[in-house]
Symmetry: C2
Subunit: 252 residues, 2 copies
DNA sequence: ACAAAAGTGTTATCGCTACACCCATGT
DNA sequence: ACATGGGTGTAGCGATAACACTTTTGT
Protein backbone atom coordinates (compact mmCIF):
# COMPACT_ATOMS: atom_id res chain seq x y z
CA UNK A 1 0.00 0.00 0.00
CA UNK A 2 2.96 2.35 0.45
CA UNK A 3 5.18 0.85 -2.17
CA UNK A 4 4.17 3.45 -4.73
CA UNK A 5 6.58 5.64 -6.59
CA UNK A 6 6.57 9.40 -6.68
CA UNK A 7 4.66 9.75 -9.92
CA UNK A 8 1.59 8.36 -8.30
CA UNK A 9 1.21 10.88 -5.54
CA UNK A 10 -2.43 11.41 -6.23
CA UNK A 11 -3.25 7.93 -5.13
CA UNK A 12 -1.17 7.32 -2.07
CA UNK A 13 -3.57 8.32 0.62
CA UNK A 14 -6.50 6.15 -0.25
CA UNK A 15 -6.59 2.60 0.94
CA UNK A 16 -10.32 2.48 0.57
CA UNK A 17 -11.32 2.78 -3.04
CA UNK A 18 -9.39 -0.17 -4.23
CA UNK A 19 -11.70 -0.60 -7.17
CA UNK A 20 -10.34 2.56 -8.74
CA UNK A 21 -8.12 2.43 -11.75
CA UNK A 22 -6.02 5.14 -10.12
CA UNK A 23 -4.36 2.51 -8.03
CA UNK A 24 -3.00 0.41 -10.76
CA UNK A 25 -1.17 2.71 -13.14
CA UNK A 26 0.10 6.30 -12.88
CA UNK A 27 -2.55 8.88 -13.46
CA UNK A 28 -0.95 10.61 -16.39
CA UNK A 29 -1.19 7.37 -18.33
CA UNK A 30 -4.93 7.99 -18.47
CA UNK A 31 -4.59 11.25 -20.35
CA UNK A 32 -3.93 9.69 -23.71
CA UNK A 33 -7.34 9.80 -25.33
CA UNK A 34 -8.43 11.97 -28.19
CA UNK A 35 -12.07 12.96 -28.58
CA UNK A 36 -13.93 13.56 -31.76
CA UNK A 37 -17.43 14.45 -32.82
CA UNK A 38 -19.40 13.03 -35.72
CA UNK A 39 -22.49 14.77 -36.91
CA UNK A 40 -25.43 13.24 -38.72
CA UNK A 41 -26.74 16.33 -40.47
CA UNK A 42 -30.23 15.64 -41.71
CA UNK A 43 -32.37 17.45 -44.22
CA UNK A 44 -35.71 16.77 -45.81
CA UNK A 45 -35.70 17.09 -49.58
CA UNK A 46 -37.78 15.66 -52.39
CA UNK A 47 -39.91 13.59 -50.06
CA UNK A 48 -37.08 11.84 -48.36
CA UNK A 49 -34.70 12.24 -45.50
CA UNK A 50 -31.07 12.88 -46.47
CA UNK A 51 -27.83 13.23 -44.63
CA UNK A 52 -24.69 15.14 -45.44
CA UNK A 53 -21.69 12.98 -46.18
CA UNK A 54 -18.15 14.05 -46.97
CA UNK A 55 -15.69 12.25 -49.14
CA UNK A 56 -12.58 11.61 -47.15
CA UNK A 57 -9.42 13.24 -48.43
CA UNK A 58 -7.07 11.55 -45.97
CA UNK A 59 -6.11 8.11 -44.92
CA UNK A 60 -7.54 6.07 -43.37
CA UNK A 61 -10.57 5.31 -45.54
CA UNK A 62 -9.36 7.74 -48.21
CA UNK A 63 -12.01 8.24 -50.85
CA UNK A 64 -14.83 6.80 -48.81
CA UNK A 65 -17.84 8.73 -47.71
CA UNK A 66 -17.94 9.59 -44.04
CA UNK A 67 -19.84 11.69 -41.57
CA UNK A 68 -18.59 15.21 -41.12
CA UNK A 69 -16.63 15.24 -37.92
CA UNK A 70 -13.44 16.41 -36.35
CA UNK A 71 -11.20 16.09 -33.37
CA UNK A 72 -12.13 18.11 -30.33
CA UNK A 73 -9.58 20.70 -29.28
CA UNK A 74 -8.04 20.15 -25.88
CA UNK A 75 -9.63 23.35 -24.62
CA UNK A 76 -12.90 23.06 -26.50
CA UNK A 77 -16.21 21.79 -25.20
CA UNK A 78 -17.53 18.74 -26.94
CA UNK A 79 -20.84 20.35 -27.85
CA UNK A 80 -19.01 23.35 -29.24
CA UNK A 81 -16.92 21.12 -31.45
CA UNK A 82 -20.09 19.64 -32.90
CA UNK A 83 -21.45 23.07 -33.69
CA UNK A 84 -18.12 24.08 -35.20
CA UNK A 85 -18.23 21.17 -37.61
CA UNK A 86 -21.77 22.04 -38.55
CA UNK A 87 -20.98 25.67 -39.12
CA UNK A 88 -17.85 24.98 -41.14
CA UNK A 89 -19.83 22.70 -43.39
CA UNK A 90 -23.11 24.52 -43.78
CA UNK A 91 -22.58 28.03 -42.48
CA UNK A 92 -25.49 27.48 -40.12
CA UNK A 93 -25.36 28.09 -36.41
CA UNK A 94 -28.91 28.17 -35.06
CA UNK A 95 -29.76 24.60 -35.80
CA UNK A 96 -31.45 21.97 -33.68
CA UNK A 97 -28.76 19.58 -32.51
CA UNK A 98 -28.95 16.63 -30.21
CA UNK A 99 -26.30 14.38 -28.77
CA UNK A 100 -26.78 10.70 -29.51
CA UNK A 101 -24.31 8.13 -28.26
CA UNK A 102 -20.62 7.88 -27.57
CA UNK A 103 -18.48 5.25 -29.24
CA UNK A 104 -15.56 4.00 -27.26
CA UNK A 105 -14.28 0.82 -28.87
CA UNK A 106 -10.52 0.58 -28.51
CA UNK A 107 -9.79 -0.09 -32.15
CA UNK A 108 -12.40 2.06 -33.79
CA UNK A 109 -9.83 4.54 -35.10
CA UNK A 110 -6.54 3.46 -36.67
CA UNK A 111 -4.65 6.55 -35.60
CA UNK A 112 -5.01 5.97 -31.89
CA UNK A 113 -7.49 5.88 -29.09
CA UNK A 114 -10.17 8.20 -30.36
CA UNK A 115 -13.53 8.21 -28.63
CA UNK A 116 -16.21 9.89 -30.64
CA UNK A 117 -19.46 11.53 -29.62
CA UNK A 118 -22.35 11.32 -32.06
CA UNK A 119 -24.80 14.11 -32.82
CA UNK A 120 -27.60 14.73 -35.19
CA UNK A 121 -28.71 18.08 -36.54
CA UNK A 122 -31.94 18.95 -38.26
CA UNK A 123 -31.52 21.55 -40.98
CA UNK A 124 -33.98 23.18 -43.27
CA UNK A 125 -32.52 22.55 -46.69
CA UNK A 126 -33.82 25.86 -47.97
CA UNK A 127 -31.39 27.59 -45.67
CA UNK A 128 -28.46 25.38 -46.55
CA UNK A 129 -26.06 26.68 -49.12
CA UNK A 130 -22.91 24.67 -49.74
CA UNK A 131 -20.08 26.93 -48.71
CA UNK A 132 -17.93 28.10 -51.58
CA UNK A 133 -14.72 26.68 -50.24
CA UNK A 134 -12.29 24.12 -51.54
CA UNK A 135 -13.97 21.15 -49.92
CA UNK A 136 -17.48 22.02 -50.95
CA UNK A 137 -17.48 19.67 -53.90
CA UNK A 138 -16.74 16.75 -51.64
CA UNK A 139 -19.98 17.12 -49.79
CA UNK A 140 -23.25 15.58 -50.83
CA UNK A 141 -26.71 14.76 -49.58
CA UNK A 142 -27.42 11.06 -49.58
CA UNK A 143 -30.69 9.34 -48.94
CA UNK A 144 -30.82 7.68 -45.55
CA UNK A 145 -32.67 4.76 -47.06
CA UNK A 146 -30.04 4.17 -49.71
CA UNK A 147 -27.30 1.70 -48.99
CA UNK A 148 -24.18 3.76 -48.68
CA UNK A 149 -21.21 2.40 -46.87
CA UNK A 150 -19.54 4.92 -44.63
CA UNK A 151 -16.05 4.94 -43.16
CA UNK A 152 -15.14 3.95 -39.59
CA UNK A 153 -18.15 2.92 -37.53
CA UNK A 154 -20.23 5.65 -39.10
CA UNK A 155 -22.91 3.30 -40.35
CA UNK A 156 -23.67 2.42 -36.77
CA UNK A 157 -23.60 6.04 -35.74
CA UNK A 158 -26.12 6.88 -38.43
CA UNK A 159 -28.37 3.98 -37.51
CA UNK A 160 -28.35 4.96 -33.85
CA UNK A 161 -28.99 8.60 -34.67
CA UNK A 162 -31.95 7.73 -36.87
CA UNK A 163 -33.41 5.45 -34.25
CA UNK A 164 -33.15 8.16 -31.63
CA UNK A 165 -34.54 10.77 -33.96
CA UNK A 166 -37.55 8.63 -34.76
CA UNK A 167 -38.19 8.05 -31.12
CA UNK A 168 -37.96 11.73 -30.33
CA UNK A 169 -39.93 12.96 -33.31
CA UNK A 170 -42.94 11.01 -32.06
CA UNK A 171 -42.98 12.71 -28.72
CA UNK A 172 -41.67 16.19 -29.36
CA UNK A 173 -42.55 18.66 -32.08
CA UNK A 174 -39.11 18.76 -33.66
CA UNK A 175 -40.21 17.77 -37.14
CA UNK A 176 -40.67 21.43 -37.95
CA UNK A 177 -36.93 21.92 -37.83
CA UNK A 178 -36.78 20.07 -41.11
CA UNK A 179 -39.49 22.14 -42.79
CA UNK A 180 -39.46 25.69 -44.09
CA UNK A 181 -41.00 28.27 -41.76
CA UNK A 182 -44.19 28.20 -43.78
CA UNK A 183 -45.53 24.83 -44.79
CA UNK A 184 -48.73 23.09 -45.72
CA UNK A 185 -50.25 20.25 -43.77
CA UNK A 186 -49.55 18.01 -46.71
CA UNK A 187 -45.85 18.79 -46.55
CA UNK A 188 -45.87 18.16 -42.87
CA UNK A 189 -47.56 14.83 -43.35
CA UNK A 190 -45.07 13.80 -46.02
CA UNK A 191 -42.22 14.70 -43.74
CA UNK A 192 -43.52 12.55 -40.92
CA UNK A 193 -44.14 9.72 -43.31
CA UNK A 194 -40.59 9.97 -44.59
CA UNK A 195 -39.02 10.11 -41.16
CA UNK A 196 -41.11 7.42 -39.54
CA UNK A 197 -41.71 5.22 -42.55
CA UNK A 198 -45.43 5.05 -41.96
CA UNK A 199 -48.45 6.21 -43.91
CA UNK A 200 -51.22 8.26 -42.41
CA UNK A 201 -54.76 8.96 -43.45
CA UNK A 202 -54.87 12.52 -44.72
CA UNK A 203 -58.10 13.56 -43.03
CA UNK A 204 -57.18 12.03 -39.71
CA UNK A 205 -53.67 13.42 -39.74
CA UNK A 206 -54.98 16.94 -40.32
CA UNK A 207 -57.58 16.69 -37.62
CA UNK A 208 -55.07 15.34 -35.16
CA UNK A 209 -52.50 18.04 -35.80
CA UNK A 210 -54.91 20.94 -35.99
CA UNK A 211 -56.62 19.87 -32.79
CA UNK A 212 -53.29 20.04 -30.96
CA UNK A 213 -53.52 23.76 -31.36
CA UNK A 214 -49.93 24.89 -31.80
CA UNK A 215 -50.05 25.61 -35.50
CA UNK A 216 -50.60 29.17 -36.58
CA UNK A 217 -52.78 29.56 -39.64
CA UNK A 218 -50.99 32.17 -41.70
CA UNK A 219 -53.99 32.81 -43.95
CA UNK A 220 -51.70 32.53 -46.91
CA UNK A 221 -51.73 30.12 -49.80
CA UNK A 222 -49.08 28.23 -51.63
CA UNK A 223 -47.98 29.79 -54.90
CA UNK A 224 -47.29 28.23 -58.30
CA UNK A 225 -48.26 24.70 -57.52
CA UNK A 226 -49.90 22.55 -60.20
CA UNK A 227 -52.84 21.75 -58.00
CA UNK A 228 -55.07 23.44 -55.50
CA UNK A 229 -52.80 25.54 -53.30
CA UNK A 230 -52.63 24.61 -49.65
CA UNK A 231 -52.96 26.87 -46.68
CA UNK A 232 -49.67 27.80 -45.09
CA UNK A 233 -49.03 27.21 -41.40
CA UNK A 234 -46.16 27.86 -39.08
CA UNK A 235 -45.18 26.23 -35.82
CA UNK A 236 -46.05 28.50 -32.93
CA UNK A 237 -43.34 27.81 -30.39
CA UNK A 238 -44.84 30.14 -27.83
CA UNK A 239 -48.22 28.47 -28.03
CA UNK A 240 -46.64 25.06 -27.76
CA UNK A 241 -44.76 26.01 -24.61
CA UNK A 242 -47.95 27.35 -23.14
CA UNK A 243 -49.86 24.16 -23.91
CA UNK A 244 -47.01 22.07 -22.57
CA UNK A 245 -47.02 23.92 -19.29
CA UNK A 246 -50.72 23.11 -19.04
CA UNK A 247 -50.01 19.39 -19.26
CA UNK A 248 -50.38 18.86 -22.97
CA UNK A 249 -47.91 16.48 -24.52
CA UNK A 250 -47.24 15.97 -28.18
CA UNK A 251 -47.67 12.48 -29.44
CA UNK A 252 -48.03 10.89 -32.81
CA UNK B 1 1.33 23.71 -47.23
CA UNK B 2 4.69 21.98 -47.09
CA UNK B 3 6.14 23.96 -44.27
CA UNK B 4 5.25 21.32 -41.73
CA UNK B 5 7.72 19.63 -39.49
CA UNK B 6 8.30 15.92 -39.26
CA UNK B 7 6.05 15.31 -36.32
CA UNK B 8 3.03 16.25 -38.31
CA UNK B 9 3.40 13.82 -41.14
CA UNK B 10 -0.17 12.68 -40.93
CA UNK B 11 -1.46 16.00 -42.14
CA UNK B 12 0.83 16.96 -44.97
CA UNK B 13 -1.01 15.57 -47.94
CA UNK B 14 -4.36 17.17 -47.53
CA UNK B 15 -5.02 20.64 -48.85
CA UNK B 16 -8.74 20.08 -48.98
CA UNK B 17 -10.21 19.59 -45.56
CA UNK B 18 -9.21 22.93 -44.24
CA UNK B 19 -12.00 22.89 -41.75
CA UNK B 20 -10.32 20.11 -39.87
CA UNK B 21 -8.66 20.82 -36.59
CA UNK B 22 -5.79 18.69 -37.83
CA UNK B 23 -4.45 21.65 -39.73
CA UNK B 24 -4.09 24.04 -36.92
CA UNK B 25 -2.11 22.25 -34.26
CA UNK B 26 0.00 19.08 -34.28
CA UNK B 27 -2.04 15.96 -33.98
CA UNK B 28 -0.45 14.59 -30.85
CA UNK B 29 -1.70 17.65 -28.99
CA UNK B 30 -5.17 16.17 -29.32
CA UNK B 31 -4.33 13.07 -27.31
CA UNK B 32 -4.56 14.70 -23.94
CA UNK B 33 -8.00 13.71 -22.78
CA UNK B 34 -8.92 11.29 -20.07
CA UNK B 35 -12.23 9.45 -20.16
CA UNK B 36 -14.30 8.37 -17.25
CA UNK B 37 -17.60 6.66 -16.66
CA UNK B 38 -20.23 7.52 -14.09
CA UNK B 39 -22.95 5.08 -13.30
CA UNK B 40 -26.39 5.84 -11.94
CA UNK B 41 -27.15 2.48 -10.33
CA UNK B 42 -30.84 2.30 -9.61
CA UNK B 43 -32.82 -0.01 -7.41
CA UNK B 44 -36.43 -0.17 -6.29
CA UNK B 45 -36.85 -0.56 -2.59
CA UNK B 46 -39.60 0.28 -0.13
CA UNK B 47 -41.82 1.84 -2.75
CA UNK B 48 -39.26 4.25 -4.07
CA UNK B 49 -36.47 4.47 -6.55
CA UNK B 50 -32.98 4.70 -5.09
CA UNK B 51 -29.51 5.16 -6.44
CA UNK B 52 -26.16 4.03 -5.15
CA UNK B 53 -23.90 6.85 -4.05
CA UNK B 54 -20.35 6.62 -2.77
CA UNK B 55 -18.68 8.90 -0.29
CA UNK B 56 -15.56 10.30 -1.86
CA UNK B 57 -12.30 9.42 -0.16
CA UNK B 58 -10.12 11.70 -2.26
CA UNK B 59 -9.89 15.29 -3.22
CA UNK B 60 -11.54 16.94 -4.99
CA UNK B 61 -14.92 16.93 -3.26
CA UNK B 62 -13.55 14.81 -0.42
CA UNK B 63 -16.33 13.62 1.85
CA UNK B 64 -19.11 14.42 -0.59
CA UNK B 65 -21.40 11.86 -2.07
CA UNK B 66 -20.80 11.07 -5.71
CA UNK B 67 -21.78 8.62 -8.38
CA UNK B 68 -19.68 5.50 -8.59
CA UNK B 69 -17.35 5.99 -11.48
CA UNK B 70 -13.79 5.65 -12.59
CA UNK B 71 -11.29 6.55 -15.26
CA UNK B 72 -11.30 4.40 -18.35
CA UNK B 73 -8.08 2.52 -18.98
CA UNK B 74 -6.26 3.47 -22.18
CA UNK B 75 -6.87 0.01 -23.58
CA UNK B 76 -10.33 -0.52 -22.15
CA UNK B 77 -13.64 -0.04 -23.93
CA UNK B 78 -15.87 2.59 -22.43
CA UNK B 79 -18.79 0.21 -21.95
CA UNK B 80 -16.51 -2.28 -20.28
CA UNK B 81 -15.34 0.33 -17.84
CA UNK B 82 -18.92 1.01 -16.87
CA UNK B 83 -19.53 -2.67 -16.22
CA UNK B 84 -16.31 -2.90 -14.26
CA UNK B 85 -17.42 -0.14 -11.93
CA UNK B 86 -20.75 -1.83 -11.48
CA UNK B 87 -19.19 -5.18 -10.75
CA UNK B 88 -16.64 -3.81 -8.33
CA UNK B 89 -19.37 -2.11 -6.39
CA UNK B 90 -22.14 -4.67 -6.43
CA UNK B 91 -20.64 -7.93 -7.60
CA UNK B 92 -23.24 -8.04 -10.35
CA UNK B 93 -22.47 -8.54 -14.00
CA UNK B 94 -25.66 -9.43 -15.82
CA UNK B 95 -27.43 -6.18 -15.26
CA UNK B 96 -29.40 -4.00 -17.63
CA UNK B 97 -27.22 -1.01 -18.44
CA UNK B 98 -27.79 1.85 -20.80
CA UNK B 99 -25.59 4.70 -21.90
CA UNK B 100 -27.03 8.13 -21.29
CA UNK B 101 -25.10 11.25 -22.23
CA UNK B 102 -21.52 12.38 -22.42
CA UNK B 103 -20.31 15.41 -20.51
CA UNK B 104 -17.54 17.36 -22.10
CA UNK B 105 -17.27 20.70 -20.37
CA UNK B 106 -13.66 21.85 -20.22
CA UNK B 107 -13.62 22.61 -16.53
CA UNK B 108 -15.85 19.88 -15.23
CA UNK B 109 -12.97 18.07 -13.53
CA UNK B 110 -10.28 19.87 -11.55
CA UNK B 111 -7.58 17.33 -12.28
CA UNK B 112 -7.56 17.86 -16.02
CA UNK B 113 -9.58 17.41 -19.13
CA UNK B 114 -11.78 14.49 -18.20
CA UNK B 115 -14.76 13.72 -20.38
CA UNK B 116 -17.22 11.41 -18.73
CA UNK B 117 -19.81 9.08 -20.16
CA UNK B 118 -22.95 8.55 -18.14
CA UNK B 119 -24.76 5.25 -17.68
CA UNK B 120 -27.63 3.94 -15.70
CA UNK B 121 -28.07 0.39 -14.48
CA UNK B 122 -31.21 -1.26 -13.20
CA UNK B 123 -30.57 -3.72 -10.43
CA UNK B 124 -32.86 -5.93 -8.49
CA UNK B 125 -32.10 -5.03 -4.89
CA UNK B 126 -32.73 -8.59 -3.76
CA UNK B 127 -29.67 -9.64 -5.67
CA UNK B 128 -27.50 -6.80 -4.44
CA UNK B 129 -25.24 -7.56 -1.52
CA UNK B 130 -22.77 -4.89 -0.52
CA UNK B 131 -19.38 -6.41 -1.14
CA UNK B 132 -17.47 -7.16 1.99
CA UNK B 133 -14.53 -5.00 1.13
CA UNK B 134 -13.00 -1.98 2.76
CA UNK B 135 -15.04 0.59 0.87
CA UNK B 136 -18.38 -1.04 1.37
CA UNK B 137 -19.34 1.17 4.27
CA UNK B 138 -18.98 4.25 2.10
CA UNK B 139 -21.76 3.17 -0.18
CA UNK B 140 -25.42 3.87 0.36
CA UNK B 141 -28.76 3.87 -1.34
CA UNK B 142 -30.34 7.28 -1.52
CA UNK B 143 -33.80 8.19 -2.63
CA UNK B 144 -33.85 9.83 -6.03
CA UNK B 145 -36.54 12.20 -4.83
CA UNK B 146 -34.53 13.35 -1.85
CA UNK B 147 -32.36 16.41 -2.22
CA UNK B 148 -28.84 15.16 -2.05
CA UNK B 149 -26.03 17.21 -3.46
CA UNK B 150 -23.52 15.21 -5.40
CA UNK B 151 -19.97 16.04 -6.38
CA UNK B 152 -18.83 17.29 -9.81
CA UNK B 153 -21.70 17.62 -12.27
CA UNK B 154 -23.25 14.44 -10.96
CA UNK B 155 -26.57 16.06 -10.13
CA UNK B 156 -27.03 16.80 -13.79
CA UNK B 157 -25.94 13.32 -14.75
CA UNK B 158 -28.53 11.85 -12.42
CA UNK B 159 -31.26 14.16 -13.68
CA UNK B 160 -30.50 13.27 -17.29
CA UNK B 161 -30.37 9.58 -16.51
CA UNK B 162 -33.73 9.67 -14.76
CA UNK B 163 -35.32 11.59 -17.61
CA UNK B 164 -34.03 9.07 -20.11
CA UNK B 165 -35.08 6.16 -17.96
CA UNK B 166 -38.59 7.51 -17.61
CA UNK B 167 -38.83 7.99 -21.34
CA UNK B 168 -37.62 4.48 -22.01
CA UNK B 169 -39.62 2.76 -19.34
CA UNK B 170 -42.80 3.96 -21.03
CA UNK B 171 -41.96 2.35 -24.32
CA UNK B 172 -39.95 -0.71 -23.44
CA UNK B 173 -40.59 -3.37 -20.84
CA UNK B 174 -37.48 -2.68 -18.78
CA UNK B 175 -39.27 -2.05 -15.52
CA UNK B 176 -38.94 -5.74 -14.73
CA UNK B 177 -35.21 -5.30 -14.31
CA UNK B 178 -35.99 -3.55 -11.05
CA UNK B 179 -38.32 -6.25 -9.76
CA UNK B 180 -37.64 -9.71 -8.41
CA UNK B 181 -38.17 -12.52 -10.88
CA UNK B 182 -41.53 -13.26 -9.34
CA UNK B 183 -43.77 -10.33 -8.59
CA UNK B 184 -47.39 -9.45 -8.16
CA UNK B 185 -49.25 -7.02 -10.35
CA UNK B 186 -49.54 -4.71 -7.38
CA UNK B 187 -45.79 -4.60 -6.99
CA UNK B 188 -45.42 -3.92 -10.64
CA UNK B 189 -47.91 -1.09 -10.47
CA UNK B 190 -46.15 0.45 -7.48
CA UNK B 191 -42.86 0.30 -9.32
CA UNK B 192 -44.23 2.14 -12.33
CA UNK B 193 -45.85 4.70 -10.10
CA UNK B 194 -42.57 5.29 -8.31
CA UNK B 195 -40.54 5.59 -11.48
CA UNK B 196 -42.97 7.73 -13.44
CA UNK B 197 -44.48 9.67 -10.58
CA UNK B 198 -48.04 8.93 -11.69
CA UNK B 199 -50.94 7.05 -10.18
CA UNK B 200 -52.87 4.41 -12.03
CA UNK B 201 -56.26 2.87 -11.52
CA UNK B 202 -55.69 -0.62 -10.21
CA UNK B 203 -58.29 -2.39 -12.34
CA UNK B 204 -57.26 -0.63 -15.51
CA UNK B 205 -53.56 -1.14 -14.94
CA UNK B 206 -54.05 -4.86 -14.49
CA UNK B 207 -56.22 -5.22 -17.54
CA UNK B 208 -53.81 -3.25 -19.65
CA UNK B 209 -50.77 -5.25 -18.60
CA UNK B 210 -52.43 -8.65 -18.72
CA UNK B 211 -53.84 -7.96 -22.15
CA UNK B 212 -50.35 -7.28 -23.49
CA UNK B 213 -49.74 -10.96 -23.06
CA UNK B 214 -46.09 -11.19 -22.10
CA UNK B 215 -46.57 -12.00 -18.44
CA UNK B 216 -46.40 -15.60 -17.39
CA UNK B 217 -48.85 -16.56 -14.69
CA UNK B 218 -46.79 -18.69 -12.35
CA UNK B 219 -49.87 -20.09 -10.54
CA UNK B 220 -48.17 -19.32 -7.29
CA UNK B 221 -49.20 -17.09 -4.47
CA UNK B 222 -47.36 -14.64 -2.27
CA UNK B 223 -46.41 -15.94 1.15
CA UNK B 224 -46.62 -14.34 4.58
CA UNK B 225 -48.31 -11.14 3.61
CA UNK B 226 -50.79 -9.50 5.99
CA UNK B 227 -53.50 -9.40 3.34
CA UNK B 228 -54.87 -11.55 0.59
CA UNK B 229 -51.84 -13.00 -1.19
CA UNK B 230 -51.35 -11.94 -4.78
CA UNK B 231 -50.69 -14.15 -7.76
CA UNK B 232 -47.09 -14.20 -8.86
CA UNK B 233 -46.07 -13.41 -12.41
CA UNK B 234 -42.83 -13.31 -14.30
CA UNK B 235 -41.79 -11.43 -17.40
CA UNK B 236 -41.68 -13.80 -20.36
CA UNK B 237 -38.87 -12.40 -22.49
CA UNK B 238 -39.40 -14.98 -25.20
CA UNK B 239 -43.06 -14.19 -25.52
CA UNK B 240 -42.32 -10.48 -25.61
CA UNK B 241 -39.83 -10.89 -28.45
CA UNK B 242 -42.36 -12.92 -30.32
CA UNK B 243 -45.06 -10.31 -29.90
CA UNK B 244 -42.66 -7.56 -30.84
CA UNK B 245 -41.75 -9.29 -34.07
CA UNK B 246 -45.46 -9.38 -34.86
CA UNK B 247 -45.72 -5.62 -34.59
CA UNK B 248 -46.73 -5.27 -30.98
CA UNK B 249 -45.16 -2.41 -29.12
CA UNK B 250 -45.16 -1.83 -25.41
CA UNK B 251 -46.60 1.47 -24.30
CA UNK B 252 -47.78 2.84 -21.02
C1' DA C 1 -61.48 17.62 -69.23
C1' DC C 2 -58.08 15.78 -66.36
C1' DA C 3 -54.57 15.17 -62.84
C1' DA C 4 -53.19 16.11 -58.37
C1' DA C 5 -53.42 17.47 -54.06
C1' DA C 6 -56.30 20.37 -50.69
C1' DG C 7 -59.81 20.06 -47.58
C1' DT C 8 -64.29 18.21 -44.98
C1' DG C 9 -67.92 15.18 -42.89
C1' DT C 10 -69.82 10.73 -41.20
C1' DT C 11 -69.91 6.44 -39.01
C1' DA C 12 -68.69 2.52 -36.42
C1' DT C 13 -65.64 0.61 -33.46
C1' DC C 14 -62.27 0.06 -29.97
C1' DG C 15 -60.07 1.40 -25.95
C1' DC C 16 -59.91 3.45 -21.97
C1' DT C 17 -61.57 5.80 -17.64
C1' DA C 18 -64.16 5.85 -13.65
C1' DC C 19 -66.20 3.56 -10.25
C1' DA C 20 -68.41 0.00 -7.69
C1' DC C 21 -67.99 -4.13 -5.70
C1' DC C 22 -66.27 -8.65 -3.78
C1' DC C 23 -62.28 -11.73 -1.86
C1' DA C 24 -58.60 -13.64 1.12
C1' DT C 25 -55.30 -13.13 4.58
C1' DG C 26 -53.00 -11.56 9.21
C1' DT C 27 -53.74 -9.23 13.58
C1' DA D 1 -64.09 -7.33 13.30
C1' DC D 2 -61.01 -4.72 10.78
C1' DA D 3 -57.34 -3.24 7.87
C1' DT D 4 -54.98 -4.10 3.75
C1' DG D 5 -54.24 -5.01 -0.67
C1' DG D 6 -55.87 -8.62 -4.31
C1' DG D 7 -59.02 -9.18 -7.92
C1' DT D 8 -63.27 -8.41 -11.30
C1' DG D 9 -67.30 -6.39 -13.99
C1' DT D 10 -69.61 -2.79 -16.38
C1' DA D 11 -71.35 1.43 -18.36
C1' DG D 12 -70.31 5.51 -20.86
C1' DC D 13 -67.40 8.56 -23.00
C1' DG D 14 -63.98 9.90 -26.36
C1' DA D 15 -60.60 9.23 -29.67
C1' DT D 16 -59.67 7.60 -34.08
C1' DA D 17 -59.55 4.64 -38.17
C1' DA D 18 -61.76 3.97 -42.55
C1' DC D 19 -63.77 5.91 -46.33
C1' DA D 20 -66.41 8.80 -49.27
C1' DC D 21 -66.86 13.05 -51.02
C1' DT D 22 -66.12 18.03 -52.58
C1' DT D 23 -62.88 21.92 -53.98
C1' DT D 24 -59.31 24.48 -56.35
C1' DT D 25 -55.51 25.04 -59.06
C1' DG D 26 -52.36 24.22 -63.52
C1' DT D 27 -52.01 22.01 -67.97
Amino acid sequence: MKSQESEQTMVEEQPKHQYSAYYQIPIDKFFQFAMSVDNVILGYHENSLKLLAVERGTEPYLGMMALPGDLVYPNEEVDVAARRVLKDLTGLTDVYTSQTKTYGKVDRHPVGRVVTVGFYSLVNVDRYRPLASSWADNVSWIDVNGHVDLAFDHNVIVADALAMLREKVRHQPIGFELLPKKFTLGEMQSLYEAVLGERYDKANFRKRIISMGFLKDLKELQQDVPHRPGRLFSFDEEKYQHLKSKGFSFGL
